[in-house]
Symmetry: C2
Subunit: 450 residues, 2 copies
């Protein structure tokens, strides 16, 4: 019995480890087209800013670490084709250019996603960088070291763009952020995003909203300026493309594996594709949103780990299910923490719910306790039942705690009436006497019509 | 319509404020035998250690702050007797010694609790202190300032004893802690408590277990030593009694109001006593434990606030219910955070559950992110259903977040299978890629028999 895994970052390596634990006899081969496996893309911005001092810290496990588990990792091997009838993969050894056909009994596709690179003039100039793979990280770091940029333009205001903004400003680089939308970090409700926008200005990040990158200009092969869709010209030494990502689903698609609406691979709750014995996990798949009950593409490292575990277990003969996601996300930029779970008010309305909401600003410890920090919390619930639909939090305070309480509340189908008397942990160094969650839930309860 | 409230710390003042919000016409009188209302007892250890620099910071609202809400606060007025048939209270004005009979239509008893002071020789010596009311705090602070103690014995290893241990050591006082039990902080399971014990030793706190205070000796009216029940003699300048507290329920008892098994006032989920129109809230009442489904005495500031709100609402004509508690608690001693929610393994077994448990040690951020701190987490679940029963966490890491996630999980009746795929917030500065909660829940899932 041979399990083949395509891709070895988060989901792929997790799947391999889990499959081995479930089935000691399985032969496991993992093909990875990069030179490393099991690295963290999420930590990359902190290596750029030197908060994480060494590149090695970003590699969680080396390929050789998998030998003890008899997991055969083939680095620099790219799977070019997949035949689900013959149950084979066509593999290109990037070192010696050899092609090889490898049979499998079970297959896990964990091909991840890639940064979107627009086809515009100047895109190949030195100083135009992206962030996702270790090769992209190395190119980014090299650009910083070689070009010593004084100015940078970050294109995109998602979490990668905002994390990199911190990294670049900390390196002394004058940074401008372009957002194609009306606001930065478009997943937030507008009034929450506004806090983020104003905070960025205090950090001397120039923010241009409703702006797209149109053209990059250079001199002697190096970036010198960009032009926006509205015609603004900005001199810059560095252009960071953080527009978004798309799933690496072409290999699966060409093999007749069904994709979902988002373009990512469609899987059931066992992480199985429409082809029996072929599983997929991580950034290349769509998952089920537990509130909208619709598929959503939600490419995040923790979810990739959870899904990899499920795919590995099932491919090895187990029977585990992945229940779906609530769209929980968190990041920081400078000293501002931004997190959300479930649906924003906008998203709740789009999904057909009738939402109510409340926004409060509170401290994360007792007022008199030193080091108490502020946070703004928005809770969203259904107007009739009071069932919680989502939370957004922003501020220097304990945003992560607020989001995790609410992610757990969503998992428990709790209503604002449940939360307004929650027995949360209080002592002055940890919380105000009534948690911001309790205060906000109590506000919502007063708005209920049910 | 006249609402009388007896007691004005947490529950009493919260009840008054809520009653006013619900009913603008109600006459509200609050009798408080102390010179201040609405102070935080929980913050007192930090005033002793000068982490909180001013005494005023501990007073949340002054009596005069309630005037705008037309809440008549009578300071230094002690209610001596309560007649529930005539609906009157007998009040002693401690300033001028006058007695007064005051009629009420609705009554809220919020008389709180008091520190236990054992009747042993030497208990009245200068340098023997307790902590709860502001008067006790002043006496404690005065003892520190006047006696300049070099050594202290703290009797009791509950959270107050452990918080005060930090305060005293930070003031340069050589501190010994006496625990009457086999372990410090007896609510924890033994292996969790062991971490606390060993940590205290690293902070040069001497810990004597299985020891009770037998006698206090003095010279010229001041403490000089103590003798333990086993006969050990310890020279000391200061004795802190932190043995525990008991509810101030005598007034209610004498009026024929029913007490519960714990000796605290029995109330229903509307915070109403057995006498119609008489409510009680805060440290003087018993509450319902939502896991054991039995009454429990759980005197904590946050619960007092929640209950005060319910009692105030109902006394003013509303209809709110308090669903009960999970026994959530948290405190810190030095840089060690200790928290729990629900049942320990020991308590679960005593309550008739068949528990399974797991203990893990994890970091609270990504391994490579600076400032990641450790915590040890114990989760307890039912062996058949996997339903979560409780959590304990200890360490320098984000214990408060772990406890709050689990308190919310208990509120949602979640099982370990729910939690092992929880969509919690991950980014390197906030969490490892899989939360300790997910890792521990996954361990538990493997132990299930159901």
């Amino acid at each position: 019995m041979h399990l083949v895994i395509i891709g070895g970052v988060a989901a792929g390596t997790k799947a391999a480890a889990r499959a081995r634990r479930v089935n000691r006899k399985l032969a496991i081969t993992l093909f990875q087209d990069e030179t490393e496996v099991s690295y963290t893309a999420c930590g990359q911005p902190y290596y750029l800013s030197r908060v994480v001092p060494t590149r090695e810290a970003l590699v969680i496990r080396k390929a050789s670490d998998f030998k003890a588990d008899h997991i055969d990792i083939k680095l620099r091997h790219r799977v070019m084709e997949l035949d689900t009838r013959r149950c084979t993969v066509q593999v290109h050894n990037l070192e010696n250019n050899a092609m090889q056909t490898v049979p499998y009994d079970r297959l896990i596709i964990a091909t991840g996603a890639r940064a979107i690179v627009p086809a515009i003039p100047g895109i190949n100039l030195d100083g135009v960088v992206t962030l996702r793979s270790m090769a992209e990280l190395d190119r980014f770091r090299s650009a910083l070291d070689r070009l010593l940029p004084q100015c940078a333009v970050i294109v995109g205001s998602g979490y990668i763009g905002l994390e990199v903004a911190e990294s670049l400003v900390n390196l002394g680089i004058k940074t401008t952020l372009l957002s194609r939308n009306q606001q930065v970090f478009s997943r937030l409700d507008p009034e929450m995003s506004q806090h983020l926008h104003e905070y960025l200005l205090t950090k001397n990040v120039q923010v241009l909203i409703n702006e797209k990158l149109a053209e990059i200009k250079g001199h002697w092969g190096k970036v010198t300026s960009i032009t926006t869709a509205k015609g603004a010209k900005l001199a810059t030494d560095l252009v960071v493309l953080a527009i978004g990502a798309k799933p690496n689903a072409e290999l699966a698609d060409q093999a007749g594996i069904q994709l979902g609406m988002s373009g990512a691979i469609a899987v059931n709750n066992r992480m199985e594709t429409n082809i029996e014995g072929v599983f997929a996990a991580g950034d290349c798949v769509e998952c089920y949103h537990r509130l909208t009950q619709k598929p959503v593409w939600n490419p995040l490292g923790d979810i990739a780990n959870l899904q990899g575990r499920i795919a590995g277990e099932n491919a090895a003969g187990g029977n585990a299910t992945f229940p779906g996601v609530y769209g929980t996300a968190i990041f920081k930029t400078f000293d501002l923490n931004i997190g959300l779970t479930g649906l924003t008010e906008t998203a709740a309305r789009q999904a057909g719910f009738d939402p109510i909401s409340t926004v409060i600003t509170a401290r994360d410890k007792a007022r008199y306790y030193p080091g108490a920090k502020e946070l703004t919390l928005k809770l969203v619930a259904e107007v009739q039942s009071g069932r919680m639909l989502g939370a957004q939090a922003i501020g220097p305070g304990a945003v992560d705690k607020m989001v995790d309480i609410m992610a757990t509340a969503l998992l428990g189908n709790l209503s604002c009436r449940d939360l307004e008397n929650a027995d949360l942990a209080y002592a002055p160094p940890f919380s105000p006497v009534l948690s911001p969650i309790i205060i906000a839930a109590s506000n919502l309860s007063k708005l209920l019509t049910g």
